[in-house]
Amino acid sequence: MLEAIALARPPMLAPTNLALQPGHVTGVIGPNGAGKTTLLRALAGLSRGPGRVLLDGAPLTPGPRTLAWLPASRDAVWPMTAATLVQLGLGPGAPPEPQAVAAALAACDASALANRAVNRLSTGERARVLLARAIVARPAWLLLDEPVANLDPGHRIDVMDLLATEADRGAGVVVALHDLDLARRCDRLLLLSDGTVVADGSPEQALTPDNLARYFGVRRDNHDWQRIVNVLLIGHVDGQSRSQAAADGQRPQPD
């Protein structure tokens, strides 16, 4: 269990207490500037400030098998191959493990990129290689900042499937997302606003029409309102009748 105790990074993050379970995908959502990255970096032990992070009751010590941090940045300075970059994810001075590297690249649909220079890849391709770097050591915790940004729709879904697979093998996954449609697939959502967790629960509990309006500024007089609610709260694959019923039942009163 990964615990945050009075974890704060003023002014971006107010004191926060969290208990995150392994084997779950926890989504961190919120508008721009809500503190998603700040929360993830603090959980990863990458920033100094008040509060503590405990891993299974003990202070967090970083290491490739303990925790993987994937920053939102996609830059790569050195023109090394994707396989070389992924190998670095096994830790400083780790012996080469070509099979683990190949498996990680395959899991991110990046096998074809293995021998290409990372600085010559497209941003989306590089995003998949960097994700492979994060999972290669099979860390107990994955803290991922916007892993699906820059990806095409097919690869976005693939990555969400991959995160579910990682959680199934027992890893704890914490992922910042902007795509609320994908966020629906998380086991638990933390909704952040102004550095405070304002909703914490299942996607249905966190993504209420009220929260959409209040925290994401999705306006109810928007002519797409009904469609947005349908897509986000009920899901496009579900039947029309269910969405209609839910929309009728859940639609909040106008202000």
Binding site: R41, A44, G45, L46, T61, P62, G63, P64, L67, A68, W69, L70, P71, S73, D75, V77, W78, P79, M80, T81, T84, L85, L88, G89, G91, P92, G93, A117, R133
Partner: protein, 312 residues
């Protein structure tokens, strides 16, 4: 590649020992003692210093580029080599232009620049702050050198110091080798030990931290290694530019562009390149007095321009 570079260093060292203004073999036939003295007192320190200083510059360049995550960085941007030059110049004023005094002054200067840099940077600072602090220290020291030169007690002192600053291995002695080489070697050892961390830094500072790299310890160790490996060289030979900038680019493609893995080959290639350059300045016809530091810059500057142009 490491083995081939080591053999190249040995071959160039042999050439450096064999080549000089006088024919040692001819002197050996007439006066073996004189030949031995010339060999031990002049050729050996010169060759040893070329290998050691070149290796220090090469390893420092690879480490600086990896630490700052910038292929256009050189060890000079962090300041210790400027500090060494200032220390040597000041020692030249106050202690006379004795070579050992200047070397000790240079070492003190490199240490002072290092201390200033670490004080400015503080604990576990990021790359940007490190670069800015290094540039500030180097600029401050550069101005101090100019001030010291403009206050030179006599035109001759000014001429001597200007010439010394250009970098040369002429007439270096065994005590200078004994003073500088162990320090340079210690610096290179620090950098080689940091190689895995330098590789991890290729993924960014945050990711390196999450992989278990201790930022404060690693940063201090790398900066201290660079200060030792370059400062000790400048203290005895003056400023020799561009080796630290270009050598890492020559070797990095051969280690899969892993910045940490390039440290050892860069040390060997730096030693080979500086030894070759030092042989070249001795092969020039008499009357053309091209300083070693000037020659490396003449070779290095076009290479650097080509590198910048090729980047986009």
């Amino acid at each position: 590649m490491t083995v081939r570079l080591a053999l190249l260093c040995l071959a160039l060292a042999a050439a450096s020992l064999a080549i000089g203004p006088v024919d040692l073999a001819a002197i050996w036939a007439r006066d073996p003692d004189l030949a031995r003295t010339l060999f031990v007192e002049l050729r050996l320190p010169r060759t040893g210093l070329a290998l050691a200083i070149g290796a220090g510059l090469g390893a420092s360049g690879a480490a600086a580029q990896a630490l700052l995550r910038n292929p256009l960085a050189s060890p000079d941007v962090l300041g210790p080599s400027s500090g060494a030059a200032l220390g040597a110049v000041l020692a030249g004023y106050f202690l006379g232009s004795g070579v050992i005094g200047m070397a000790i002054g240079g070492l003190a200067g490199a240490g002072a620049a290092l201390a200033l840099l670490l004080a400015l940077v503080g604990r576990g600072a990021g790359t940007t702050r490190l670069v800015l602090a290094g540039v500030a220290v180097a600029m401050l020291i550069g101005v101090a050198i100019n001030l010291a030169l403009s206050l030179a007690p006599s035109p001759f002192a000014l001429y001597d110091l200007m010439f010394w600053l250009m970098g040369s291995l002429d007439d270096r002695s065994l005590p200078q080798l004994a003073l500088a080489a162990p320090l340079i070697l210690a610096g290179i050892v620090l950098l080689v030990r940091s190689a895995p961390a330098l590789d991890a830094l290729a993924l960014g500072e945050d990711v390196a931290l999450s992989l278990g790299v201790a930022r404060t310890a690693v940063q201090s160790r790398i900066i201290a290694g660079i200060a030792l490996a370059t400062g000790a060289g400048v203290a005895v030979a003056g400023s020799i530019g561009f080796i630290g900038l270009i050598v890492p680019h020559l070797v990095r493609p051969h280690v899969g562009h892993r910045p940490g893995a390039a440290v050892v080959p860069a040390a060997l290639a730096g030693g080979a390149l500086l030894t070759a350059a030092d042989v070249a300045v001795r092969l020039l016809p008499a009357g053309i007095d091209l300083r070693l530091g000037v020659l490396t810059a003449l070779i290095g500057a076009p290479f650097f321009i080509a590198l910048v142009m090729r980047r986009d």
